[in-house]
């Protein structure tokens, strides 16, 4: 399988892109917003103002290009790595930050946005995505599902079972593998002996594509085509987007222990850079615009950070909220006793 690409590393189109220049500009702006968020979140973590954080530096192209195909009827099923996608699909910045600060009330999307909380156990969200798609189809509801996962996730049983279900029930789901070459310290060639993940699509009787994930125009087209297939009843698509993990796995990780130079860095470049070069060459992007966009992004993020830090410390009561739809009596009793003891103990 050959990796598909539209823009080369210098941002030169190898064929005419489907996206208009204006669409591409919107895309770049979205990427700059989440890149700003990402780097701010990283520094908040370094300052001890939020907890462990999983950066998506270098994945802005995939995440921004993917969610632009979604509408309000659609579902986003993200992992810990996909904060950028969630934000661009409508998750408030404050909710995203509160999540990484370990606040129970967090990652809450607006009522008109179906964004699941991020899945932490690897690959387990893949059957959920298959099931949501199945449910939408069964109920003849509008809407498709977009789910993200990493290269490491493709080794888990749930990846396999979920994709096989999606194939059998022909569900409207886009399975988007962000193959960043690493699962923490394990390089892709140790994750599997297969040449690609995309090649597995035929093993599930579904459509598969291998694309350059650092080429935002390619991602945008591939996801849009997959979304169209899904919407028109042609079933699921597995897209493998090849990319490169620029930073550490999370802020708890020290990549110097296991990664020296990585050829991917030079063969894939940076998605923001590539799209910017393209737009600049087309005369559709200027340094002033960049500065304006960044300025706006920084303000938005700063505003969210201010709100975050104004939030009161979550109460112990929150521990007991949302366990049951209708609380059994034992549970109420347990809560009351627990909170009373805690209060006594803290006195």
């Amino acid at each position: 399988m050959e990796m598909e690409r539209i823009l080369d590393l210098e941002g030169r189109p190898l064929r005419p892109p489907r996206l208009s220049l204006e669409e591409s500009r919107v895309l770049l702006k979205a990427m700059l917003l989440i890149r700003t968020f990402d780097s701010r979140a990283l520094s908040l973590q370094r300052q001890g103002r939020i907890g462990t954080y999983a950066p998506f530096t270098g994945l802005e192209g995939i995440q921004a290009a993917a969610v632009r195909s979604l509408t309000a009827a659609d579902w986003l099923v993200p992992t810990y790595r996909d904060t950028g996608a969630a934000i661009l699909f409508g998750l408030p910045l404050l909710e995203a930050l509160a999540y990484w600060k370990g606040f129970p009330d967090s990652y809450r999307a607006p009522a008109d946005r179906q964004i699941l909380p991020p899945s932490v156990p690897i690959a387990t969200q893949i059957p959920h995505a298959a099931g949501i798609g199945w449910g939408l189809k069964h109920q003849k509801k509008e809407g498709i599902v977009l789910t993200f996962f990493g290269d490491g996730a493709t080794s888990e049983g749930d990846f396999h079972e979920g994709l096989n279900f999606a194939g059998v029930f022909k569900t409207p789901v886009v399975f988007l593998c962000q193959n960043n070459g690493w699962a923490i310290s394990v390089p892709f060639h140790r994750q599997t002996a297969a040449e690609s993940i995309a090649i597995r699509a035929q093993g599930y009787g579904i459509h598969g594509r291998l694309i350059d994930g650092n080429d935002p125009l390619m991602v945008a087209e591939a996801v849009q085509e997959a979304a169209e297939r899904a919407r028109s009843g042609e079933g699921p698509t597995l897209i493998e987007a090849r990319t490169y993990r620029q930073g550490p796995h999370t802020t708890s990780d020290d990549p110097r222990r296991y990664r020296q130079e990585d050829p991917l860095e030079t063969t894939l470049g940076d998605p923001v850079e590539r799209l910017r070069l393209y737009l600049q060459k087309e005369g559709a992007w200027s340094a002033e615009e960049e500065e304006e966009t960044l300025q706006e992004a920084r303000e938005k993020v700063a505003q969210a950070v201010a709100e975050l830090e104004a939030l009161p410390r979550p109460s112990p009561e929150s521990i007991f909220e949302h366990v049951y739809g209708a609380e059994p009596p034992f549970f109420q009793q347990q809560r009351d006793r627990f909170l009373a003891t805690l209060k006594e103990a803290q006195e």
Binding site: R108, H128, I132, H138, D158, N164, Y324, A326
Partner: protein, 329 residues
């Protein structure tokens, strides 16, 4: 409640599913061989023909995806009822159960909920192959956010299952395989619900109490009847819902009788018997006249079926334990 007919526990399960499918378009059944085949025990017999392959759905052989996809179905607005072929085959789905089914409401702060029922036959005594006779309820009861129900009569099978399907939270529904066809009883027609969380008093008594569930109810009753011949009135309480446990009834009977026996067919150590004993401590310490006793299977894997009758609690072994409890000074 309309007048019912005599039915097996298995037929009562089928009837509950039939009623649910008829009453609520959101209900969808999924599992291995539940379609044309009607399930390996025939619990879905006739439902594929009646409701079609879109609502009674054969899935590929993959339990983690059955539960995982059922989560998705529930999130999308449906009321899925998944069948796991035998409780031992819930194990591959435990990750989805422990990591997701039980936590979606919590994690999403009430926004995304999983009103899912996972049904499965459980327990031993029918000469089945390895891993076809598991009693793994303790794992589920120890998982906050789940409910666990176990009927021991046809009426309860129907009533609890309909409550489970209606419940806003995920319910694991364990069907005692051994009682599927060996127990018959009146089953109210139409929509019949038995509330989750309330034990059933099978038999009153003041001299002692046996707490039990599922296929352990008949032999426990047998033991209580034998004790009656010795002059003891022993209550039998079918817990019926294992999560949440009916602490009130457990406490009441422990206080009332002072002598407690718990019977289960899961291994002793870490079994639910321990929890019930602990509850008796907490609710009735000053009333206990003898150490609460646990009758359970020993701490070994479930053995090959030629010896399962020796392995499982029987009326006679329960009676022996009861004698000790009743005669403790």
């Amino acid at each position: 409640m309309s007048p019912g007919t005599e039915k097996t526990l298995l037929a009562a399960v089928t009837e509950a599913l039939d009623v649910a499918l008829a009453e609520d378009p959101r209900v969808l059944l999924l599992g291995e061989d539940i379609g044309l085949n009607g399930g390996v025990f025939r619990a879905t017999d006739g439902l594929f023909e009646k409701y079609g392959g879109e609502r009674v759905v054969d899935t590929p052989l993959a339990e983690s995806a059955i539960v995982g996809a059922a989560i998705g179905l529930a999130l999308s607005g449906l009321r899925p009822v998944a069948e796991i072929q035998f409780m031992g085959f819930l194990y591959p789905a435990l990750d989805q159960i422990l990591s997701h089914v039980s936590r979606f409401r919590y994690r999403s702060r009430g926004r995304f909920t999983v009103p899912l029922v996972v049904r499965m036959p459980y327990g031993g005594g029918v000469q089945a192959p390895e891993l076809h006779a598991e009693s793994a309820e303790a794992h589920l009861v120890h998982t906050p956010g789940l409910k666990v129900a176990v009927p021991s009569t046809p009426a309860d099978a129907k009533g609890l299952l309909l409550s489970a399907i209606d419940d806003p939270d995920p319910v694991l529904f364990l069907e005692p395989m051994r009682l599927y066809r060996s127990v018959k009883g009146e089953v109210p027609a139409g929509v019949h619900k038995v509330p989750l969380g309330k034990a059933r008093i099978v038999r009153e008594g003041n001299d002692g109490v046996i707490f039990c569930w599922g296929a352990m109810v008949p032999p426990s009753l047998q033991a209580a009847r034998r004790a009656k011949e010795d002059g003891f009135d022993v209550a039998v309480v079918d817990l019926r819902t294992l999560s949440p446990l009916d602490r009130e009834t457990i406490g009441k009977f422990a206080r009332q009788t002072g002598r407690v026996l718990v019977v289960h067919e899961a291994p002793l150590t870490g079994g639910l018997g321990a929890e019930i004993v602990a509850i008796c401590q907490e609710e009735a310490f000053w009333h206990l006249e003898a150490p609460p006793q646990r009758v359970a299977v020993p701490d070994t894997p479930y053995p090959a079926f030629a010896v399962e009758e020796d392995y499982l609690p029987q009326g006679a072994t329960i009676y022996r334990a009861l004698q000790k409890t009743l005669k403790e000074p």
